[in-house]
Amino acid sequence: MQPILTIENLSHAYGKRLALENLTLEARAGEIFGLLGPNGAGKTTAVRLLNGLLKPLSGHMRVLGFDPVTQGEQVRQRSGVLTETPALYERLTAHQNLNFFSILVGMPPNLRNKRIAELLDFFGLTQRADEKVANYSKGMKQRLALARALLQKPALIFLDEPTSALDPEASAQVRDLIASIGRQDGHTVVLCTHILSEAQRLCDRIAILGHGHLLAIGSLAELRQQVLPGLWLDVELWGTPPAGLVEALTVLPGVVEVVVESNDRYRIRVLDEAVVPLIAERVLGMGGRLLRLQPHEVSLEEVYFALQNRVNGGEA
C-alpha cells in the first residue's frame, strides 16, 4: 500500500517544552492507523501539525501529497478531523451545523442537502436533525461530530480520542462506526487514542508514542515480535508447587524467561512449540499437578506497558 502520510524527523515545541522529537512514521492508504500514547505523548500535536495548524520546529511532512506547512488549505480540503471535544455549535441544530461546515469544505450547493441527509441517516440522527445540539447526549454529539468530519468524503480522517469522554455503550457505538467508516470508500483513518483495547480492536498498524518519541510501530503481530518476541505460555498448577520448580523450568533448553505471576501461576517465554512437552514433563516429573498449560497471546496492553517500562526504567 502507498503511504498517504509521511513524517520524517518531525519535532515541535511549545515554548521550551518539546512535544514531539524526531518523529518518523508513515500511514498507508486504506488502513486504520493508531497513534497510541498517554496524555501529553504528542498525539494531538501531531494531528495539528499534519493539518497545518501549527508549524514544526524541524522535520518534513507529506499528507495526501501536500506539505501541510505551505499547503495547509489543500490538506484540510481533503481531510476530516474529529477533535477531542465534539466542538459543535450547541445553539444550532444538527442540520445547521452540518450545513455550515459543508459550505466551508467547499461542497457544491446542489449536493449539500443530499450529503447531509445521508450522513444524518448513517449516524442515526435524522429524527432529531432539527433539534438544537445542546439537547443531544454525549454519544449523539460525538456521532454528529463524526458526521461533520466525513462531510466531503475525505480521503484521510483524523480521530482524536473519539471515545474518551463517552460511557461504555456510546463508546461501543462509536467504535463500531469507526470500524465501518474505515472499511468504506477506501478511507484512511488515523486514530489517536490512549485506550489500548480500542487500538487493538480497530487498528491495522499502531505507532506507540511516549513523551514525544516514537517507541515502536507496526501491526500488533509486529509489535509483539519487536517488544515481547517468542511464544508465551500460561502455566497454572493445582495445589502447592514443588520446591525449586521455577529454577528447574528456567534452565530447560528453549526456555527464555519465566515470569512468576503468583505462587501457582507462571508465564513462560519459549523459543518454539517444541519446548511445551518438556515443560509439562518437568512439572509432572517434580511431582507438580498441572491444571493448565496453554499458549498466551500477548495483548497490545502488555506490549504497551513493556515499552513504557523500558522507557521509564521500570517505573511505569
Partner: protein, 273 residues
C-alpha cells in the same frame, strides 16, 4: 478571498447570537431607551405650561442658549425657550447616546464571536476547515460590523419618527434630523463599530471568556462619554465639522486595532491561546 465562506461564517455567528437571549436583549432594550424613552420624556416635559414658564424665566438658561455657537443657534431662530431646549436636547445632547449603540452592539457580537467561540471550544473545528485565516477573520468582523451599523441606522430612523410625530404639535413642524446628525450616523457610527470590533479582537486573543472580552472592550464607551461631557460642559459641540474630524480619528484608531487584531488571528495563535 472566498466570499461564500465569509458570508457563511458571518451568518453562523449571527445565528448563534440570535440564540443568546442575554446578548440580543441588550441590543433591543438599550436602543428602545435611547430612541423612544429619552425623546418622549424631553418632548413631554416642556408641554407642561408651568415648567415651560419656569424655563422661559430662568436667566441661566437664557444665558446658556445665547452663548451657543452659531452652528447650533441657527437651529433655534424663531423658537421659544422651551422649544429651543427641546432642539438642544434632542438635536444635540442626545446624539452621543445613539453613538453608544454601534459600540455596544459590535463589542457584544465580536466578543461572542471571537472569545465566545474559544470559550465554548468550537474554534478548533473551525480551524480544521480549509477556510483561510483571512476569511475567518473577515467573516467574524462582518458578523459584528453589519448588524451594529444597521441597528444604529434603524434606531436613528425610529428616533426621527418619534421626535417628529410626538413632537409635531409642540414644535409645529417636522424639524429633525438636523445636518449634524448625518456625519454622526454615517461616518462616526461605523467608525465606532469598527473600533469596538478591533478592540474586541485584540482583547479576545488574551481573554478566554465572552464576558471578560465584552467587559474590557465595553470600556471603550469612555470615548462616547467624553463626547457627552464635552457637549454638556460646552468644551466641544458636535457640529458637522467636529463629527467629520471625530470620525476620521476613530477610523484611524479602528484601522490600527483591526490590523493588530488580524495579525494575532492566525491558526497557530488561536490554537495555543
Amino acid at each position: 478571498m472566498n466570499l461564500e465562506h465569509i458570508v457563511a461564517i458571518a451568518s453562523k455567528d449571527l445565528l448563534e447570537v440570535r440564540q443568546n437571549t442575554s446578548a440580543w436583549a441588550a441590543m433591543v432594550i438599550l436602543p428602545l431607551i435611547f430612541v423612544v424613552a429619552f425623546p418622549l420624556v424631553i418632548l413631554l416635559l416642556p408641554s407642561n405650561p408651568q415648567l415651560a414658564g419656569e424655563m422661559a424665566a430662568d436667566p441661566d438658561l437664557v444665558m446658556f442658549i445665547e452663548g451657543l455657537p452659531p452652528s447650533m443657534s441657527q437651529h433655534l431662530v424663531g423658537l421659544d425657550v422651551s422649544q429651543q431646549m427641546v432642539v438642544i436636547m434632542i438635536g444635540f445632547f442626545l446624539a452621543p447616546f445613539l453613538l453608544i449603540l454601534p459600540l455596544m452592539c459590535s463589542t457584544i457580537i465580536a466578543a461572542e464571536s471571537f472569545a465566545g467561540e474559544r470559550e465554548r471550544k468550537t474554534i478548533e473545528a473551525l480551524l480544521y476547515t480549509p477556510t483561510s485565516d483571512r476569511d475567518l477573520f473577515l467573516g467574524k468582523v462582518l458578523a459584528a460590523f453589519v448588524p451594529s451599523v444597521l441597528l444604529t441606522w434603524l434606531s436613528f430612523a425610529v428616533y426621527t419618527l418619534v421626535v417628529n410625530t410626538v413632537g409635531y404639535s409642540f414644535m409645529g413642524r417636522i424639524w429633525f434630523p438636523i445636518p449634524t446628525w448625518w456625519p454622526l450616523m454615517f461616518w462616526v457610527a461605523p467608525a465606532l463599530s469598527a473600533l469596538g470590533i478591533g478592540a474586541s479582537v485584540i482583547i479576545s486573543a488574551k481573554t478566554k471568556t465572552f464576558m471578560g472580552a465584552y467587559q474590557l472592550s465595553g470600556s471603550l464607551v469612555i470615548v462616547v462619554l467624553a463626547l457627552i461631557i464635552g457637549q454638556v460642559s460646552g468644551v466641544v459641540y458636535l457640529t458637522v465639522a467636529v463629527g467629520l474630524l471625530t470620525g476620521l480619528v476613530l477610523w484611524i484608531a479602528a484601522a490600527i486595532l483591526m490590523t493588530l487584531g488580524a495579525r494575532s488571528f492566525t491558526r497557530s495563535m488561536l490554537i495555543l491561546n
